[in-house]
């Protein structure tokens, strides 16, 4: 009975076991069928989708950055070049503690405080997955020393990168400009221009000057390389490559040697000089003193240098030639005289008797001439040669501000000259309309009086003055200043000269111009305000001096410049072209706080003319503005 029971239990147990085993078997079949269904889904139905993903995983399109075009002066001297150097870069997101890692790096290769500051500044300006340079221009030895210890520095990488260099340093820095790392504003501009693809891999962009304005020519076309990469992003092999197209080389109109002469002629003064070939509009020298070293900007400027440049009272970053707006002072007088001739308000012979001041009817205020006792009888020729203020006070009031405005605009006062680098300011050629708009105020006749001698609301940039002077030199035909001379196509090596602008009609009558030009020639002759500037030149120079008041004088106060602080001294101006009968160079010079045009700005112009026309380099340069000449302006 018990055995039977046991047997029956055993049988039952076996039956249960086997049926459960069968059930398990069934579940296993279902499970495997499920897996097979999943595999079929992935490998048959979705295969193309996953294939695409796998290809996208392994193939990376790496941009190949083109070489940036060179910048050369008109004679082929290199102003901006490229070289390749090793940099050590850090991707902050891949480094746990960047500061500590840099400390450790410092035990291996030199990391200066400046490097650190610059890196920190870059870090603030960039996304933390970007690779940023901590050290640039590593020596072979430093590269080797780092390579051996590489494993200690995850997130650090040595890269061979092309660098921009400006071999001339500060010389012509405002014309050449510089490149810098692409910032958020640049990114936006690139995006709106639809150039994103071409800037993949590029991390520098032209910021100012030629570098900024001709970015498109200089950048070139980015190539690409299809690379097979592994999961760590390391390139395994190249699959295909399309070569980049280097940027075009630019030959600019500057003459480096002339530029150097002009910059040196400024000695320690601040100011600007623009020298133009009046026949072509080519700018041969563009000076804004002080300059800056554009090389500082290439790898990202460190905060110390930046502060020094940015906060310097001398404002070295300000391009005075294009952006400095100064009262033109007496240099405006030839243009005023031309307006009067054109409107027949003055004949050449008409003379005034100059008592040394000018008064408006029924107004007590005396507008003073620079010469206390006046110049005696003054006609138009003499008014320019000795720079008589009284003559122009009256002339201007008779013309009226709106007529003056109409005539000055012909010479490009009050609007941009259209020079081919950015940042130019307009200056100001005032009118009744302008004053109404700007100050909601009507124009007073008194306002016109000071405009007559280039003061008051009248403002011009040195470039505008140079362009107006060049127009005089070019027989009154408008001159369009430019810095680009030709473009060398990187594909064909062909030189494409910049197209000459269409010939325009003269804006003044030739007989009027002849009168003014002869007066300007006499300015640089004995008896003229720039007699010393023109002395023994060996060529005839047509010139006009000018002084721009920095502070207004009180009525009756004797102007004593020795007692006025240096910063409040007048700006010295000088415009000129030479040779007077066949002008090859027209120029405007401004010396900030230089005193009188004849004493500081004039000698600078003379040096530049001497070099350009005669090939003369001054052996010894007397200190500018030292022995005060007798002529005054």
């Amino acid at each position: 009975m018990i055995v039977g029971q046991a047997l029956r239990d055993r049988d039952r147990e076996l039956t249960v076991f086997r049926s459960r085993l069968m059930l398990a078997g069934l579940l296993i079949i279902i499970a495997f069928a499920l897996l097979l269904a999943r595999f079929t889904w992935l490998q048959v139905v979705q295969r193309d989708y996953y294939h695409t993903l796998a290809e996208a995983n392994r193939i990376s399109v790496v941009p190949v950055v083109p070489n940036r075009g060179l910048i050369l002066d008109r004679n082929g001297a290199v102003l901006a070049a490229n070289y390749s150097a090793y940099t050590l870069e850090i991707t902050p997101s891949k480094v746990a503690n960047v500061d500590r890692a840099i400390d450790e790096l410092g035990t291996l290769i030199e990391v200066s405080a400046r490097d650190r500051r610059r890196f920190r500044k870059l870090q603030e300006e960039s996304k933390n997955f970007e690779s940023l340079p901590i050290r640039t221009r590593l020596t072979e030895e430093e590269v080797a020393r780092f390579a051996v210890n590489r494993f200690r520095f995850p997130g650090f990488e040595i890269k061979a990168r092309p660098f921009r260099s400006y071999p001339q340093g500060e010389v012509a820095s405002h014309a050449i400009g510089y490149i810098g790392r692409i910032n958020d504003a640049d990114v936006k501009r690139i995006e709106t221009q639809g150039l994103n693809a071409n800037y993949k891999g590029t991390d520098h962009i032209g910021k100012l000057g030629i570098e900024g304005s001709y970015e498109k020519e200089l950048h070139g076309v980015t190539g690409s390389e299809q690379v097979e990469i592994d999961a760590g992003g390391r390139a395994i092999r190249s699959l295909a490559r399309s070569e980049p197209l280097s940027g075009n080389n630019l030959v600019i109109t500057l003459d480096l040697k002339l530029q150097k002469v002009a910059e040196e002629a400024f000695q320690d003064y601040r100011g600007a000089l623009v020298a133009i070939d009046p026949r072509t509009g080519e700018i041969l020298a563009l000076v804004s003193k002080p300059g800056f070293d554009p090389n500082l900007f290439v790898d990202g400027i460190d905060p110390q240098n930046w502060d020094a440049l940015n906060n310097s009272p001398d404002k070295p970053l300000n391009n005075r030639a294009l952006r400095g707006q100064y009262p033109p002072g007496s240099t405006i007088k030839p243009f005023m005289a031309l307006a009067a001739l054109d409107l027949k308000k003055r004949s050449p012979e008409f003379s005034i008797s100059d008592p040394g001041y000018f008064t408006l009817p029924n107004v007590a205020h005396r507008y003073r001439d620079w010469k206390k006792d006046g110049h005696g009888m003054v006609n138009m020729h003499k008014s320019i040669v000795i720079s008589c203020d009284t003559y122009y006070y009256g002339l201007a009031t008779e013309l009226g501000i709106d007529a003056i405005h109409r005539h000055l605009v012909k010479f490009n006062f009050g609007s941009r000259t259209g020079v081919d680098i950015d940042g130019e300011l307009t200056g100001n050629a005032p009118s009744t309309e302008w004053k109404q708009e700007r100050f909601k105020q009507r124009w007073f006749t008194g306002d016109t009086v000071s405009v007559g001698i280039g003061q008051g609301y009248l403002l011009a940039t040195p470039l505008q003055l140079a362009v107006a002077t060049a127009t005089l030199a070019n027989d009154g035909v408008p001159v369009h200043p430019h810095l680009l001379r030709s473009v060398q196509d990187s594909r064909t090596q062909e030189m494409r000269p910049v197209e000459a602008s269409a010939l325009e009609a003269a804006v003044v009558k030739p007989e009027h111009l002849a009168l003014i030009r002869s007066a300007m020639v006499d300015v640089a002759r004995p008896g003229g305000t720039a007699a010393r500037v023109g002395a023994n030149a060996g060529y005839a120079m047509a010139a006009k001096t000018g002084t721009a008041q920095v502070i207004a004088m009180k009525q009756g106060e004797k102007y004593d410049e020795k007692r006025v602080k240096e910063a409040n001294r007048d700006h010295a101006l000088f415009i000129a072209f030479a040779p007077a009968d066949d002008p090859k160079l027209a120029m405007a010079v401004l010396v900030e706080n230089g005193g009188h045009g004849g004493s500081t700005a004039g000698p600078i112009a003379r040096e530049v003319f001497d070099y350009y026309l005669l090939g003369k380099v001054p052996a010894k340069r007397p200190k500018l503005g030292e022995d005060e000449p007798e002529e005054h302006d």
């Binding site: 085993l21 078997g25 495997f32 897996l35 595999f39 295969r47 989708y49 995983n57 392994r58």
Partner: protein, 365 residues
């Protein structure tokens, strides 16, 4: 002479099972070679060495009589449990989990031992209670099962805990636990899901969330799954060819020679390869079921059945996880993945299966 040696070696070896195992393991070494970069024999040779040790263990266990195994079951279980408690008290922490116990000369992972000890001790228990199983017996069995599982969960090692639980549960299931209780367990399990969720470690929860939506964190927790499904899917029907899987060879598949080796295999051998692998697994499981069905004692039956089902569980969980239908748990692909411990414990289990297969005549006669 040669035939005598062969006879000596194969006396306790189950022919069909051995053949299926050998094919699968050979395939595994081929895949490990590819998964380790396809240029160095280091891992393939290493796996060969692991295999030699594991085969020796299989051969030895095949010679241990099931009766002896049954008698050893309880002592091994008790020692294993002791070691687990030791781990909980003095264990070494590696990768944030307390799983290893230092014995002075070596470190052991007692949870590995329990993968075999738990089904054996339960089989032994039901064997002793052969006559008339009552609810109380099942309750006691449940205690034997839950104790080690709870200790392993605490380590924490949810993957191993689940596998140990499964291996023991299979014994209870095969022993004939009533459907009512089974149903109640399933219900209780479902009801306790929210509670389980709350005791899961954050990384474990993340794995489950990742399964549901891997794209949520494609470079973090979703990366494994995304890359392995891309590998498998891009393999297509015929695969990209041995050593030619781009996902595998370029390192996109993580842990490609261990837990995620199926992604390498599926990419290089395609759907056809996957079918072949499943077929081999089905052969092994079918043979295991035949051995279990014809085993002569309750212990043998339950042990053989549970071992086979556990093997299936490994295969299914791994394939499911790599193909993205199960959460990521650290389970290797049985007989294929690189790694000595997993292969050793797997072949020890198959040694026991062979012992059961080749010793049944003696018992029944």
């Amino acid at each position: 002479m040669i035939s005598r040696i062969f006879d000596f070696l194969s006396r306790r070896i189950d022919g069909p099972l051995m053949a299926a195992l050998a094919l699968t393991i050979a395939l595994g070494i081929v895949v490990v070679y590819s998964a380790s970069g396809g240029s160095s024999l280091e891992r393939a040779v290493g796996q060969g060495r692991n295999l030699a040790v594991a085969l020796l263990a299989l051969w030895i266990f095949a010679h241990i009589h099931p009766q002896l195994l049954m008698r050893l079951a309880l002592p091994v279980y008790v020692v294993g449990l002791g070691l687990l408690i030791g781990v909980a008290l003095f264990g070494e922490i590696r990768n944030g989990a307390r799983r290893w116990l230092s014995l002075g000369f070596t470190t052991v992972q007692p949870s590995e031992v329990m993968k075999i000890a738990v089904p054996l001790v339960l089989a032994w228990y039901f064997h002793r209670r052969e006559e008339g199983l009552r609810m109380r017996d099942f309750a006691l069995a449940a205690v034997l099962l839950v104790l080690p599982v709870a200790l392993i969960v605490r380590q924490p090692d949810l993957g191993t805990a689940l596998l140990v639980f499964a291996s023991g549960f299979f014994v209870i299931f095969l022993a004939g636990l009533s459907w009512r209780v089974l149903g109640a367990m399933v219900f209780a399990g479902a009801a306790s899901l929210p509670f389980l969720w709350s005791v899961l470690h954050p990384y474990q929860r993340q794995r489950i969330l990742t399964l549901l939506n891997p794209m949520e964190d494609p470079l973090g927790s979703g990366y494994h799954i995304i890359q392995s499904t891309i590998a498998i899917g891009s393999g297509g029907i015929l695969g990209k060819g041995w050593l030619n899987g781009t996902q595998a060879q370029l390192d996109f598949v993580p842990e490609r020679s261990t837990d995620f080796i199926l992604a390498v295999f599926g990419e290089e051998f395609g759907l056809v390869g996957n079918l072949l692998l499943i077929a081999l697994y089905v052969l092994i499981i079918a043979r295991g079921f035949m051995i279990a069905a014809s085993a002569s004692t309750v212990f043998s039956r339950l042990a053989a059945g549970a071992i086979t089902l556990t093997f299936f569980t490994y295969a299914f969980v791994n394939m499911g996880m790599v193909s993205g239908i199960l959460p990521v748990v650290g389970v290797p692909l049985p007989l294929i993945s690189y790694g000595g411990t997993a292969l050793l414990s797997m072949l020890v289990a198959f040694g026991i299966l062979m012992s059961i297969s080749t010793h049944k005549q003696l018992v029944s006669s």
